[in-house]
């Protein structure tokens, strides 16, 4: 097998890697955002429950959680390894994203909420129009770190048999007996993806920066 087809075969796993990331990251963001809002504004019991949730989810290795969620999901709904794996990674990431967004919400001063309520906004309006627009901007730098982590963690679905970059590198390294070349290719593709995402998000951060609000 010539080198171009070799690299092509591994690179064709990129679609799966990106697919996993594009399912896991947004679903983790939406879930994380909702949970963070409940955490901050939802009262004591909600805050305590979510703090336990966050402690558990972030205290267990992602691959162990992936296996647990994957088998629970396969037992209840019939999902392909791709979907089950991606959604599981999203749930795992939601705990980390919740903490990122919660931190950003808390860094927007409480006085703004009071000010918004004083001018007649409802709590939800204040969250929607005053707090979140600032929060999400502030959350970009730590969030871009999380995005890189999710791209890298997408390699864990290898263990579920999804034909992503690493799985393809493994398949072809066995059939061509070029493991070094195969895994180096895989590593470089991942590196490219992470680098690209970081650059993209840094641009976004600069564009959305609020002047005079470091």
């Amino acid at each position: 097998m010539d080198i171009i087809r070799f690299i092509q075969y591994i690179a064709s796993g990129t679609a799966y890697t990106l697919g996993v990331t594009f399912v896991a990251l947004p679903s983790g963001l939406i879930l994380g955002l909702i949970l963070a809002i409940i955490y901050v504004y939802g009262g004591k019991i909600a805050a305590r429950t979510l703090s336990v949730y966050s402690t558990i989810m972030r205290g267990i290795p992602p691959i162990v959680l992936l296996f647990i969620l994957y088998f629970i999901m396969s037992g209840t709904i019939n999902l392909s390894p791709f979907w089950a794996g991606s959604i599981s990674l999203g749930v795992i990431s939601s705990a980390y994203q919740m903490e990122i967004i919660r931190g950003a919400i808390l860094s927007v001063s409480g006085g703004q909420m009071i000010a918004a309520l004083a001018i007649g906004m409802s709590r939800l309006q204040a969250i929607r129009y005053i707090v979140l627009p600032q929060t999400l901007r502030l959350a970009i730098p730590p969030w871009s770190n999380e995005a890189a982590i999710v791209i890298k963690d997408s390699s864990l679905v290898y263990a579920l048999g999804v034909p992503e970059i690493l799985r393809r590198a493994q398949l072809i390294s066995a059939s061509t007996q070029q493991p070094f070349l195969a895994y180096t290719t895989a590593a470089l593709i991942y590196f490219g993806l992470v680098l690209f995402t970081n650059t993209l998000l840094r641009r976004l951060e600069n564009r959305l920066r609020i002047p005079a609000n470091p």
Partner: protein, 228 residues
């Protein structure tokens, strides 16, 4: 429920052995990562151009690729270059090399926070560059680094869980074993999840204690508090 307890009892000894392997991997990876990471941090801050460039490239490459890929590259890839390491040694090496990149960034942050004036002062009283680093900067920087660095042991403990994929008999491998013999994967992985949580909590408590012990009063760096 009783099924699950039976599983836990049946495999308890196995899980303990696996947990021991996991802790060993974490400890060795952490020490290797610290020594190499310190070198990289110093190289990036004080090194000459090639050294600085090398450190930067190393840190970016290892932080920009999945640990699992690094592990496979070392375990399955190196033998085709004539370097065949055992399963345990490959795992140590992958964890150490990977952790070094992250530890280098924590340490570099602390070194930069000490600032250049102390270097100037050290040189002014007649110390050489490396003497200043060794006797003045590092003792402060290492203590200063502890709050942000204390994330790393826990992160590393969690990342060791992939080494079962190169047939190392860690806690996760024991879970897989329990899953294949009992055909109860959820129960098995839940059981080891609890074991991992216990280890993470214990480690976290230890690190918090260390943080308090090593604090320099009135001289703290803004850093992330522990990861939990």
């Amino acid at each position: 429920m009783s099924d699950w307890l039976n599983l836990l009892i049946r495999f308890f000894d196995d899980f303990l052995v696996g947990a021991g392997v996991t802790l060993e991997l974490t400890a060795i990876g952490l020490v290797m990562g610290f020594l190499l990471g310190l070198g990289l941090a110093l190289g990036k801050v004080y090194g000459n151009k090639p050294l600085c460039w090398f450190s930067t490239a190393y840190i970016e490459l290892f932080r920009g690729t999945p640990l699992l890929v690094q592990l496979f590259l070392i375990y399955y890839g190196l033998p085709s270059l004539g370097i065949t390491l055992s399963q345990t040694l490959s795992a140590y090496l992958a964890l150490g090399l990977n952790s070094a990149a992250y530890q280098a960034e924590y340490l570099r942050g602390a070194i930069l926070a000490i600032g250049n004036t102390q270097m100037t002062a050290g040189r002014a009283i007649g110390l050489s560059r490396w003497q200043t680093i060794l006797h003045i900067i590092l003792p402060q920087a290492l203590r200063l680094a502890i709050p942000s660095w204390s994330n790393e042991p826990i992160l590393l403990l969690k990342s060791t869980a992939v080494v079962f994929l190169i047939a190392v008999q860690d806690l996760m491998a024991k879970a897989k074993r329990a899953a294949t013999t009992t055909y109860n994967p959820i129960g098995s992985y839940l059981a080891v999840a609890v074991v991992y949580l216990v280890m993470v909590f214990a480690l976290n408590a230890l690190l918090k204690w260390l943080e308090r012990k090593a604090r320099i009063p009135g001289f703290e760096m803004e850093g992330k508090k522990g990861s939990l």
